[in-house]
Symmetry: C2
Subunit: 205 residues, 2 copies
């Protein structure tokens, strides 16, 4: 059976858990305390030298890391990945946007304020306003796109929506105010209505 090394509050991990749920793929969940060094032990670094969750271990002992790469692996050939070449690339465009221009701001501010309990280092305190500003910039880009589209690519639910939903739907835990983003909120409701949707901290059956 597939093994997923993960941390339940992680949006990056949730992307993988949500897709596996929606594809009906069974897996064994190994929960790691990422804020207590569990991904930097010699055993874990042998699985993923980048030292991050989510990481999957296949039955043959091979591994794959980075949420976007794991999503891609499991979605190939399914309805979650567009058949059109440009739409496939647009899916990756939004997935790279999420990892570069959204996650480092929205997810990191949420982690600082909500997951690790709000005690910031002096550097984090100094970075907080700029990270918050850039988080809103990412939300502005999403709102502009969703004001004209039902889903991110091809007017159809898919990987790009999973990637962007994960941290957007918990952005309020980083004190981001989503009341001013009606298109994002309507899209989040559409995402949550998809078959086999699961909440972020739900363990596999």
């Amino acid at each position: 059976m597939l093994t997923l090394y993960d941390f339940l509050p992680s949006g990056n991990g949730y992307k993988v858990r949500l897709l596996l749920s929606q594809l009906g793929i069974a897996y064994r969940l190994v929960e790691l305390e990422i804020f207590q060094g569990a991904t930097h032990t010699p055993q874990f670094l042998a699985r993923n030298p980048i030292g991050r969750i989510p990481t999957v271990e296949f039955e043959d002992g091979r591994h794959l890391a980075e949420s976007g790469a794991i999503l891609w692996y499991f979605a190939e050939g399914t309805d979650f990945m567009p058949q059109d070449r440009l739409e496939r690339a647009q899916t990756l465009q939004w997935m790279f946007f999420e990892q570069y221009s959204h996650e480092p701001y929205i997810a990191v501010v949420r982690a600082w304020k909500h997951v690790v309990g709000g005690k910031l280092t002096p550097l984090q305190e100094m970075e907080l306003p700029e990270r918050t500003r850039r988080g809103y910039q990412a939300l502005d880009v999403m709102e502009g796109h969703l004001a004209r589209h039902t889903f991110f690519v091809g007017e159809r639910y898919g990987l790009a929506d999973i990637a962007l939903y994960a941290y957007t739907h918990v952005a309020h835990e980083g004190e981001f105010d989503l009341t001013r983003y009606p298109a994002i909120r309507a899209w989040m409701a559409r995402v949550a209505q998809q078959p086999r949707h699961i909440p972020i901290t739900e363990r596999p059956a």
Copy 2:
């Protein structure tokens, strides 16, 4: 003809220019002064609401942004993308690693020290040691992998190498010391020996 909106010193842009050179695809280069707001004009934001280069414009007027997505689009079906499903996902693993754990440190420190001329804001001054430390962490991960492999995926030059070469080969411009990374240096020499390789600031013919 294809149009590429770009900025020559950008490693993200260079990834696309290098692949297009190696695929023999002709394009028109439009150079933008990204540090003077050229990617945040209404005209450019209509092309790419994320407001970043590289962005490509196809002949039919459609656009694609994010270097990783552009690389994927052009590499599909070519020797630059593995035919094996897991190797394709491993390619994306390294491309996401580059955008999340490498570029924000190595490329940003290089931009601060080399491209924009070394005058830092107080926040940048405070961030510099941590960004430098994380840049070396990324180099450590690369060195560990390259000590056992000739290229990042499948022992064969491909997209993951292009993505990681772009900012690694100019890391010295951010004052990163590569003398302690013999495997990275040997790999960079192998990358530079590939057919139709071009330097970072070379314009298309």
